[in-house]
């Protein structure tokens, strides 16, 4: 939770312009900034009425503590150095605090000043108070005066100088620049908390519910019992593991950040793996990041098969009807000129028969049975889709009138679909009946009258229909075979410089293009056929077979080509295009539709995915810092780890990166030290207590800081040398 202990709400002194704020704007600004605790610290003034009004408005959103920023005159440095001191007291004492300030701060508040000696006498009767002295910020008291104040306050309050106690309190002081010490010192409420993009309010790792709890955390005398109060809500039953034959550990892990650190080859990974096995057996969902397997792990994350819904379209376009019709296709027999000649010869002596006009009837219409079957399939698919739509519960989406209208539209569509299909059905069946009648009656009359029937056609229509049907079949199959679609984008992770990385699938019948990077590292994202017996070669063979039919050739050659194609289809058991369905995976960024992540980017994507897995209970990160830049570690990685911790996930990180060990403020640490060659000691502890204890020997202890500096910072020499080189760094 964010904390702002330096906040002005009134214009009191010169230079306070822009600090007046009303209750509504105050609550809106503080809430929007995600601040959980705010102290009102106006210059030499405490307005109890405004305070009470603000508290009333902020109930349930954030805590407001009473405070003041006093002009204080030093007494102990010899120079009477003037400085500002913020005093914050328990909100339960707000009325008394108000009385003290009202009595103290009288007259011209611009010129008001109080002796530093008087502060303890004035405020300690209220109970424990927080005194925050300007430090590296003008005007600030002399160090002698601050020392004096600290000695007077003792255990009855806290004098805060700098965030030296931040580690102990779990405070994350990110904005420790001179003008951002422990609070926003807001200048303009239109730009709260600050216009400085680098400014960050301090955050507490613990959820603080009272003023005294906050002081407990800041207290340098914090004892284990007090810490336990804050840590216990995230405690889980001890995790019992045996990572090595001679090592059995009961780890008091938390639903927060837990760190395993130590030198290289000290067994951190084995401990992490044993923790993973333990939680898996417990039925928890465990997600792991392992730098060694990152390429394969990212592949597993990215790979996916098309869903049934995505494949529906391919079922509809599978051309099973067309392939069946193609298998049965052949040139039909044509009537010859001789049939005409024979007919006329026979009619010369059979005048009765010639009077029956049906004997000379012809039938030249096209009956497209395949089209009728296709239409029927489309009709049943559409009806099924409509049925699905009718099942959708729209009662909370549409108004009763809209619902009635929606149902009416569905009914209209349903009737329209039936009407459309019936039109084709009636036309086809009528033609079939007509043909049946002619074909049946003509031989009957011929037989009874001894006259030959006139051919239905000269054959041109039959030939044309055969040709047309063949072209249509090959065209439909060929076009559908080339059909492909792209699925919608799904985010895989985010890269600092490139933004979101998304994956998508290209699904198709024929071989679709694969990633341009197919010969690179992403060869692990190949095209995949749903039917494992199909491959690129078989796709290519079918494509070539379909292309082999040339309509420029003579009808006899066409017949030969079709015979070959029919043999190919039969020999290879090709009854539908669906078995040729295949898909390729692609990664995409804002500027690149075929993105291949670098080695480092692979790590980032994997870590991002693991840490944002909403289904996981336990996140195990083995050296997530490996190969990463410090800007990534201290930026997105730390942020994502903290976000996961806020969701009460059990996070265990094996690392020797100081940023991860220190800046995650882990609840629990395991430290592995090689005390002799191949002889290791394990310590448990936390940064809050600055103590690591050997669980096998409670007298064997060491400061957490020592372990960190030795193994993470490279030792005291390296640390101090870096400090010397950097000096006081202020960008």
């Amino acid at each position: 939770m964010k904390i702002d202990l330096h906040c002005h709400t009134l214009e009191v002194k010169k230079g306070d312009n822009g600090r007046n704020v009303n209750s509504s704007d105050f609550v809106k600004a503080i809430s929007s900034a995600g601040v959980g605790i705010v102290a009102i610290t106006n210059h030499n003034k405490f307005d109890i009425q405004q305070y009470n009004a603000f508290v009333k408005s902020a109930v349930g959103q954030f805590l407001i503590w009473p405070g003041v920023e006093l002009d204080v005159e030093g007494r102990h440095s010899g120079s009477k150095q003037h400085g500002h001191v913020i005093v914050v007291c328990d909100p339960l004492k707000a009325d008394s605090f108000s009385s003290i300030i009202s009595s103290l701060c009288v007259g011209d508040l611009e010129k008001f000043v109080v002796d530093v000696d008087k502060l303890p006498t004035l405020f300690l009767p209220l109970g424990r108070c927080l005194f925050a002295c300007h430090y590296h910020k003008s005007p600030d008291l002399a160090s002698e005066d601050i020392d004096y104040l600290s000695s007077c306050v003792g255990n009855n309050g806290i004098v805060v100088l700098e965030p030296s106690s931040a580690r102990r309190a779990g405070m994350v002081v990110l904005g420790d620049k001179k003008n951002s010490w422990f609070g926003s010192d807001v200048k303009d409420w239109h730009h709260y908390p600050s216009t400085d993009s680098d400014f960050h309010l301090p955050e507490s790792k613990f959820h603080i519910t009272s003023f005294n709890a906050f002081l407990d955390l800041l207290s340098k005398n914090t004892d284990a019992a007090i810490l336990e109060t804050f840590l216990s809500p995230k405690k889980i039953p001890e995790c019992t593991i045996s990572p090595f034959e001679d090592l059995h550990l009961s780890l008091p892990l938390y639903r927060d950040i837990n760190i395993i650190f130590g030198g290289k080859a000290t067994g951190k990974t084995q401990i992490l793996n044993a923790i993973g096995e333990y939680f898996t057996k417990q039925g928890k969902v465990v997600r792991s990041y392992n730098v060694e397997n990152k390429l394969d792990d990212l592949k597993k994350i990215i790979m996916r098969k098309p869903s049934e819904q995505e494949l529906n379209e391919f079922h509809q376009k599978d051309c099973s009807l067309e392939i069946k019709a193609l298998g049965d296709w052949k040139w039909r027999d044509l009537p010859s000129l001789k049939n005409f000649y024979n007919y006329f010869q026979s009619t010369e002596s059979a005048t009765l028969a010639t009077k029956l006009k049906i004997i000379g009837a012809s039938f030249v219409e096209t009956i497209d049975e395949t089209n009728l079957k296709r239409q029927y399939r489309q009709y049943t698919d559409d009806v099924a889709a409509l049925k699905g739509m009718r099942k959708v519960d729209v009662s909370d989406i549409l108004s009763p009138e809209e619902k009635t209208s929606f149902e009416s539209l569905l009914q209209t569509i349903s009737e329209g679909l039936l009407s459309r299909y019936l039109k084709t059905f009636i036309k086809t069946k009528s033609l079939e009946l007509e043909k049946f009648t002619i074909d049946t009656l003509k031989p009957l009359i011929s037989n009874s009258e001894g006259v030959l029937s006139k051919p239905n056609s000269c054959g041109l229509s039959l030939f044309y229909d055969d040709l047309k049907q063949l072209k249509s079949l090959l065209n439909t199959i060929g076009l559908n075979f080339l059909y492909s679609k792209q699925t919608s984008f799904e985010q895989v992770g985010t890269l600092q410089t490139k933004g979101p990385v998304e994956r998508f699938l290209k699904i198709g019948f024929a071989s679709q293009p694969v990633s341009k990077n197919k010969n690179g590292r992403l060869s692990w994202l190949p095209r995949t056929f749903l039917n494992s017996s199909i491959n690129d070669q078989k796709c290519s063979d079918l494509k070539n077979e379909l292309k082999s039919v040339s309509f420029n050739d003579s009808p006899a050659k066409i017949a030969t080509q079709i015979n070959n194609l029919q043999s190919y289809l039969a020999d290879n058991h090709v009854t539908s295009l669906f078995e040729f369905v295949n898909f390729s995976l692609f990664l995409k960024t804002a500027t690149n539709d075929d993105f291949m992540p670098s080695n480092g980017e692979t790590s980032v994507l994997l870590a991002d995915n693991v840490l944002n897995d909403s289904t996981a209970d336990v996140l195990l990160l083995d050296e997530p810092d490996s190969g990463m830049g410090s800007d990534y570690i201290n930026g997105p990685l730390l942020t994502n780890i903290q976000k996961a911790a806020d969701l009460n996930k059990i996070i265990v990180i094996a690392t020797h990166d100081p940023n991860l060990v220190v800046r995650t403020h882990p609840y629990f640490c395991v430290y592995r030290e090689e005390i002799h060659p191949a002889v290791y000691t394990t310590y448990f502890g936390s940064s809050f207590e600055d103590l690591m204890v050997n669980p096998k020997d409670s007298h064997d202890t060491k400061p957490w800081v020592d372990a960190c500096v030795t193994k993470c910072e490279g030792g005291t020499t390296a640390l101090t040398e870096r400090e010397r080189v950097y000096g006081y760094y202020d960008d």
């Binding site: 001789k338 010869q345 056609s457 000269c458 054959g459 030939f463």
Partner: protein, 106 residues
């Protein structure tokens, strides 16, 4: 060969009156002789294929005519009937082709 020529540019149909066995036609420089006696299917298909493929197909429409000087009734009926059928079916096919082209353009 004693033939009577029925001509309608660019389609030419020749009718062998003497032996009454062959209808001869020339399409796109190819000459087809359709025998009264044979039932050779491939020959007919080649004829139809050439007919459908030829650029001048539209001109064939109603271009098949019988020579009025032919006086053999049977032959006349055969030729008339066959040519009627050709004209009728070609007409339907051309309509169908036009419809297909219109659908494609839309």
């Amino acid at each position: 060969m004693d033939t009577t020529t029925i001509e309608k540019i660019p389609f030419i149909l020749k009718l062998d009156v003497n032996n009454k066995t062959v209808l001869e036609t020339s399409i796109a420089s190819q000459v087809f002789q359709i025998s009264f006696e044979t039932e050779d299917q491939s020959y007919l298909r080649d004829f139809f294929a050439a007919l459908l493929k030829a650029e001048e197909t539209k001109h064939f429409l109603f271009g098949f005519q019988i020579d009025p000087t032919v006086n053999n009734d049977t032959l006349k009926h055969v030729a008339e009937s066959y040519i009627d059928s050709l004209n009728s079916e070609l007409s339907k096919i051309l309509d169908d082709m036009d419809t297909a082209v219109a659908q494609k353009n839309n």
